[in-house]
């Protein structure tokens, strides 16, 4: 074990799904917009016009990547904001046409929480379609959830925790079919939104091929800057804004544009798409090797999520008898940055809703670890990580009084945990959506 006093241990960063470091290329693209071009794009004077030109250029670059028109791109402050805008914006604008929304149970909280909000406070009804045991949603189940009063369907492109890639094209096709059969024009609800933040570095972002009406992207997962995102909104679709003010972004997102951030984001999108095929094939090999090594070297470890329809950089396993946060901290001490779905590591003290959605018991969520690779990840780093992980698991199992048999079914009895009923997240369960 790397000694805590050892300050200069090599760091192995395996948390790229949380955020990526920025590349020099992106930084260079941004640098221009702090000093030379620093006007307010809304101003009429020279500085303003130059800023406006720069903004338009970034918009064109982003549009080209996703095969849309520049005016269909709306820059925001984050992926979260884009998700919120898509969901709240569509739902509220179309509330006279219907109050029903559809999503899945493994969406990011940036999607699930606005859904909950609409259901709790604004009289919307939501259908949360459960994914299958492999973490993929059945397009047929999405179709079955659509009602005449449905205005929005939101399904993520790729999952942030287990990396499963959802059949977006197929869902879009079924929605179109439903609309045709129900005499709904393309400019009428229901609309289809996808959160593609995790997908951007590895999958095709062509909105025409995907068939989506709205799509969320952000900079911080693709080696771009943090604090910038975009929402693609197909021409002719209206949304109610969630931020009001100076009317920037055609009134949909007020606030002076983050010029440097947007320029960096456009650059990052271009680079991501340029390298996505070569990076994908490199990382798929590494990912499969990573999984194989974990399963081989650590008993009672289980893969979470489908192996085939999965982001090339995502490894997620549940290791029984140990708790994720403890493992995370031991790994961190050895220089490895990973993440966990354990309740102990979340601000709400709830285990990962994604791992639970796979139909796995709580202890699989508590013992889940996610490693997400990136550009700089090497095979040597994976070897070091597996070796370290095996040692950490051995140590924590020594500390742990548990010896769960994988086939054993453990349920939370009615009186445990500081002697009050079920775990606190269970109590909340009934309430949500």
């Amino acid at each position: 074990m790397a000694k805590s006093k050892q300050k200069n241990i090599k760091r192995v960063y395996l948390d790229h799904a949380a955020t990526t470091p920025m590349t020099k290329e992106v930084l260079k693209a941004m640098a221009h917009y702090f000093y030379e071009v620093s006007g307010n794009p809304s101003a009429l004077h020279f500085a303003g016009r130059r800023a406006k030109e720069a903004l338009d250029l970034s918009r064109q670059r982003a549009a080209k990547i996703i095969n849309s028109q520049p005016e269909e791109i709306f820059f925001t402050g984050s992926g979260t904001e884009s998700d919120n805008l898509a969901i709240l914006g569509i739902a509220r604008f179309n509330k006279v046409k219907g109050n029903h929304l559809v999503t899945t149970n493994i969406e990011h909280h940036a999607v699930l929480h606005p859904f909950e909000r609409l259901a709790d406070r604004e009289n919307f009804k939501a259908t949360v379609v459960p994914v299958e045991e492999n973490g993929l949603v059945s397009p047929k189940k999405i179709l079955a959830a659509i009602k005449p009063e449905t205005t929005l369907i939101s399904v993520m492109y790729a999952n942030n925790e287990i990396g499963t890639i959802q059949p977006i094209k197929e869902i879009a096709r079924l929605i179109k079919k439903w609309k045709a059969a129900n005499n709904r024009g393309t400019q009428e609800p229901p609309f289809f939104h996808t959160d593609a933040c995790q997908a951007a570095g590895y999958l095709d972002l062509d909105v025409k091929k995907l068939g989506v009406d709205l799509m969320t992207l952000n900079g911080s997962k693709i080696y771009g800057p943090k604090g910038v995102g975009l929402l693609y909104v197909r021409r002719g679709i209206n949304l109610e804004p969630i931020v009001f003010g100076g009317g920037q972004e055609k009134g949909l997102r007020s606030g002076t544009e983050n010029l440097a951030g947007i320029a960096g984001f456009a650059q990052a999108l271009e680079s991501a798409q340029e390298y996505r095929l070569s990076e994908s094939s490199r990382l798929i090999k590494l990912r499969n090797y990573f999984f194989q090594q974990i399963i081989k070297n650590i008993d009672k470890s289980f893969i979470n999520g489908d192996l085939k329809n999965r982001l090339p950089n995502n490894v997620n396993v549940s290791i029984l008898d140990i708790e994720g946060e403890a493992a995370l901290l031991y790994l961190d001490e050895a220089g490895i940055s990973a993440s966990t779905g354990s309740a102990c590591d979340s601000s709400r003290l709830e285990p990962s809703h994604v791992i639970l959605a796979l139909g796995r018991p709580y202890e699989y969520a508590h013992g889940s670890l996610r490693f997400t690779m990136g550009k700089a990840t090497t095979k040597a780093e994976i070897d070091y990580t597996v070796k370290t992980l095996a040692r950490v698991v051995k140590k924590l199992r020594k500390i742990s009084p548990l010896n769960i048999k994988p086939e054993q079914k453990i349920s939370c009895p009615s009186r445990i945990f500081v002697q009050s009923g079920r775990p606190h997240w269970e109590k909340r369960k009934n309430k949500s959506v």
Binding site: L329, E363, K398, S400, L402
Partner: protein, 222 residues
């Protein structure tokens, strides 16, 4: 200044994602987490310990088990070993608890039973607020072990019975539920209602619930 720093620490995250260096766990927590004291390494032989107690559940993310040896003549704890399934603070809290018990000639049982969660937290140099329930389990596991000892040594009168008192009859919510809600960060009626849906069932219970919230907030954070 010191106070401000402590306040910030409580609210920040487990570790700095960017550097991976800074911890909100104190140096003492870190030390006990990486070098746990009094850990039970080998499964015990029959009769090696006088009592055993376990609390928690793997589904809930924390399990603590304690093995205790008692000097019957002097009513003192002579040895305490443990195993814990849980996060960093759960492991550190059990380790610290075992040290507190074994200090000097070993604590008197009555004295040991008086150790409160906040005593463990203080010795650990503080814990993040949302991690406080982890240390609450250490004293519970010990109490359970002691009840086991009292039972087997023919002192049933010393057994500590803990049962929740029902506050909201319609939703069957006890004072323990409210205690747990406070430990999870609830500070007022709205927070507790959000966590437990309390008061929705029985409006008449609200004044008593508010009183209990004040009591537990004072108890753990006052």
């Amino acid at each position: 200044m010191k106070k401000i720093k402590k306040k910030i620490n409580l609210k920040s995250d487990v570790m700095n994602q960017a550097t991976g260096q800074s911890w909100i766990y104190s140096g003492i927590v870190k030390d006990h987490f990486f070098n746990p004291r009094n850990l039970l390494l080998k499964d015990p032989r029959a009769g090696e310990f006088d009592a055993v107690g376990e609390v928690g559940n793997p589904a809930c993310g924390d399990v603590m088990k304690m093995w205790v040896k008692v000097d019957k003549k002097n009513d003192r704890i002579t040895d305490l070993k443990w195993r814990t399934f849980g996060c960093g603070s759960a492991i550190a809290a059990t380790s610290m608890f075992s040290e507190m018990i074994k200090e000097g000639r070993g604590m008197k049982i009555d004295q040991a039973l008086k150790i409160r969660p906040q005593d463990i937290i203080a010795r650990l140099g503080g814990l993040p607020e949302r991690k406080i329930h982890c240390s609450v389990l250490a004293d519970k596991a010990f109490r359970k072990a002691m009840n086991d000892y009292f039972r087997s040594s023919g002192q049933p009168q010393r057994i500590i019975v803990e049962s929740g008192r029902v506050i909201d009859k319609r939703l069957n919510i006890t004072d323990k539920d409210i205690e747990e809600a406070v430990l999870e960060g609830a500070r007022n009626l709205a927070d507790v209602q959000k966590k437990l849906k309390v008061g929705v069932g029985d409006k008449e219970a609200i004044p008593e619930i508010e009183q209990l919230i004040r009591f537990y907030v004072e108890k753990y954070y006052g």
